[in-house]
């Protein structure tokens, strides 16, 4: 049950000092890419913030998103936030089961009507009246509609909730769709990714706590602050792409040298996410850094891109031999010009008459 205490109070009860709290605010502000001048504002807002009630619904999903969140390193911004929101209902995490669990959900919905945040992971099947996935005898579609009605905002965590994800991949037998296909009258934030970076999930919640509003979104409903940048543009292997140095297989010389994975199907150029900048596992690494191309997991329909290992586009014809021929032609032309120039210079040198002092004066 959500208690009516402020976040600051809750932290104090847990023995978090004022200093620790301000450090937390600084981390939160930098996470949300806010200027340092806003840190006091973040602190003031969080001090006053009531622990918001959060209802977390899991539909057609693999629990990877929740895993991502819970496997995040501790103590961190995300763990602190989750300690200080009132997670009133979460299938995987709650101790209660059966009727008691459903009762907790109904209670929270009633008590915080219009104020709670609804987090959804997993897609919603529409085929066969939604019978492909039910919880406590209630179809996902029904439960979503019911819970969305009193929510202040909805956060679709993971690509399945955001855009349909894996369940929606062709031929999509369950008729799976994302949340925004069903709910049209509530603010929805998409936090896609398979799974999303934990700090991105909590960053959105922190923004809501601090500003009482949702962050600015892109045309696909994703927070710009985390999804505003292209993986390819921020990739540390980008210089190899620019130089045309590509790994051709996963065990060739290029792969060992860390060259660009474009030809191995990297979807970095069409993917917007924070992996290349925020990284994973406490900033340890990210897919491209560990040797695999980006699979574009935060983009709609990524399962149907046409193969994880198929390059985005490959020039027709044999670019290699064409380039070699063109280069050879260029070298030959250059050598020809150089030879002409050399002979011209040599002729000048040959014609050189040794200068004497009398030559310094004109018309002698």
């Amino acid at each position: 049950m959500a208690e009516e205490i402020t976040l600051l109070e809750s932290l104090r009860r847990r023995g978090v000092s004022r200093r620790g709290f301000l450090k937390f605010c600084t981390a939160t502000a930098s996470l949300m890419a806010l200027p340092p001048a806003l840190i006091p504002r973040v602190a003031a807002a969080l001090e006053q913030a009531k622990r918001p009630s959060v209802i977390w619904l899991s539909f057609q999903e693999c629990t990877g998103c929740t895993e991502s969140l819970t496997r995040s390193h501790a103590p961190t911004v995300e763990s602190l936030i989750f300690d200080h929101i009132s997670l009133d209902y979460h299938h995987t995490l709650q101790a209660a089961a059966g009727d008691a669990a459903e009762h907790a959900r109904e209670e929270a919905m009633k008590q915080h009507h219009g104020k709670y945040i609804l987090v959804v992971d997993g897609s919603i099947p529409l085929a066969e009246n939604g019978n492909y996935s039910t919880i406590a005898g209630i179809s996902n579609l029904e439960m979503l509609k019911e819970c969305a009605e009193g929510a202040a905002a909805i956060v679709s965590v993971g690509t399945c909730a955001a855009y349909g994800g894996l369940p929606m991949a062709k031929p999509n037998p369950t008729g799976a769709v994302g949340v925004s296909e069903i709910i049209k009258d509530k603010p929805i934030v998409n936090v896609p990714g398979c799974p999303p970076i934990p700090t991105v999930i909590t960053g959105v919640l922190a923004h809501f706590l601090v500003f009482g509003s949702l962050p600015e979104l892109d045309h696909l409903g994703r927070p710009k602050v985390f999804f505003g940048q292209n993986i390819h543009d921020r990739c540390y292997r980008r210089p190899f792409y620019e130089r045309g140095q590509f790994a051709e297989t996963f065990d060739d010389e290029g792969a060992r040298k860390g060259w660009c994975l474009y030809k191995l199907g990297c979807k970095g150029p069409i993917t917007y996410n924070a992996c290349a900048t925020n990284k994973w596992n406490e900033g340890t690494s990210w897919p491209v850094e560990s040797g695999h191309g980006c699979i574009g997991c935060s983009e709609p329909g990524f399962w149907d891109f046409g193969g994880l290992y198929k390059a985005l586009s490959v020039p027709t014809g044999n670019i290699g031999s064409t380039a070699v021929a063109a280069a050879a032609l260029g070298v030959a032309a250059g050598a020809g010009l150089a030879a002409m120039n050399r002979s011209k210079k040599q002729a000048a040198a040959k014609a050189h008459e040794t200068m004497t002092v009398t030559d310094l004066n004109k018309e002698t």
Partner: protein, 431 residues
């Protein structure tokens, strides 16, 4: 063809254009940074003196002769060959308005050696008969008499006699097997015999054997200044022959800027082989003596003094720290001028400008750059290590009515030598 002609000048420039020159012209981005690095442009604000503009005739020849576009443009009549008029117009820029100080080369963001290109274009101008009278005269005297100032051996011997009398030390002439062969600039022989005296006393204290060659006492190389490699080669060859004949280990270039550039950097390229001896500037030798404890001085100059870095020695020769270490031994109140060291401003008389009477007015205008530098530090004494800088500075200071003595560094060091001049006869000692 014999004698100077435009055709010959153009052929000579074509011969000078090499891969570096081509890449310099291709990579110039017209940023204009060389303009403000040049004292002639700075003091006249005349855009003709922008360094890269001074080699424009060479750029046109390169474009017309060596590039596809240029040939196309020539064929279509879009560009005209370099004419007699062009040579006439640029002569003043190439010789009077450039002291080959190399400051422009240093600031160029794409690394173009503009000063080096001016050295090259002078080859063509000299061959075209467009070198200044003053430089033609000096070069003729250097080749025919052995010294650009017309100093002959008897005059040198007479000076040696005077110096020997005043310091009671021998000045060895043509001594085979000596460790050092000392070159002198004619300016030092005639105007600053103190230098010869200083070298004698320092060598004596250091216990080193040295000699002057009667066949090659002259260090200056007018061929380099006028830009005629054939003549420069002849002058370098004289020094090389004399040094190798005497079997010396090291040839010491005197306090003269371009002499050092000529013998140390251009020389081996001109004669097409390396020397059998080392070449050092006198300041390098003094600094080596200092580090070996062979240079013992006493007393400190009280005067507030500063050091003028000669371009060829500091910027092109890399001898920047040596004079400062030496000054530390003898000066109490040493101050640096703004831009001192590798970025120092030229005295305005280098690269043959001081030998070119026609350039007198322009030289004095350009001297205002040095004046501003000196005004900023307000010193009592100006020290330098180039006889040509020294004479140019003295003339400039006199023209602008600045009362400031100019002293050679070697001479100043010698003033402070611990007196080892012995009861034992020095002349025998020096043997």
């Amino acid at each position: 063809m014999s004698g100077a002609s435009i055709e010959k000048g153009i052929e000579f420039i074509k011969e000078q254009i090499d891969a570096s020159t081509a890449s310099y012209f291709s990579s110039c981005v017209h940023c204009g940074l060389c303009a403000e690095a040049c004292l002639f442009f700075n003091q006249t604000q005349d855009p003709r003196y922008i360094p890269i503009n001074k080699v424009e005739p060479m750029r046109r020849i390169w474009e017309q002769e060596y590039t596809l576009w240029g040939r196309l443009k020539s064929a279509l009549g879009l560009t005209q060959p370099v004419s007699e008029q062009d040579f006439a117009d640029w002569e003043e820029l190439v010789y009077d308005g450039c002291s080959l100080c190399g400051r422009c080369s240093l600031v160029c963001p794409v690394g173009n050696d503009i000063s080096g290109m001016i050295r090259k274009i002078r080859e063509g101008f000299a061959a075209a008969g467009h070198a200044p009278e003053g430089l033609i005269g000096a070069t003729t005297r250097a080749i025919e008499i052995g010294s650009p100032m017309g100093v002959r051996l008897p005059a040198v011997k007479a000076q040696i006699g005077h110096v020997e009398d005043s310091i009671d030390l021998e000045i060895p002439l043509d001594k085979a097997g000596a460790e050092y062969m000392v070159l002198l600039s004619s300016m030092e022989i005639m105007n600053f015999p103190e230098y010869m005296e200083a070298v004698a006393r320092i060598m004596h204290q250091a216990g080193k054997s040295w000699t002057i060659s009667s066949k090659a006492f002259e260090a200056t190389n007018s061929g380099i200044q006028i830009g005629v490699s054939d003549l420069a080669r002849e002058l370098v060859q004289r020094v090389v022959d004399a040094a190798e004949e005497l079997g010396v280990k090291t040839v010491i270039s005197p306090e003269c800027g371009h002499a050092y550039t000529a013998i140390r950097w251009e020389g081996p390229n001109l004669i097409g082989r390396s020397y059998k001896f080392k070449v050092r500037h006198i300041l390098e030798v003094l600094d080596e003596f200092r580090s070996q404890g062979l240079l013992k001085t006493q007393g400190l100059e009280e005067a507030r003094l500063t050091y003028h870095d000669p371009c060829q020695i500091a910027r092109k020769g890399g001898i920047v720290e040596h004079p400062r270490r030496l000054l530390d031994m003898v000066a109490k109140n040493f101050v640096e001028m703004p831009d001192a060291g590798a970025m120092n401003w030229c005295c305005s008389g280098g690269g043959g400008v001081s030998a070119n009477e026609r350039a007198e007015g322009l030289k004095l205008t350009a001297f205002k750059q040095k004046k501003a530098q000196l005004d900023a530090v307000k010193v009592d004494t100006l020290v330098t290590a180039c006889a040509n800088c020294r004479i140019t500075l003295e003339e400039g200071l006199e023209h602008y009515e600045m009362d400031l003595p100019v002293v050679g560094l070697t001479e100043m060091i010698a003033e402070h030598l611990v007196d080892t001049s012995p009861e034992t006869p020095a002349k025998e000692n020096a043997q």
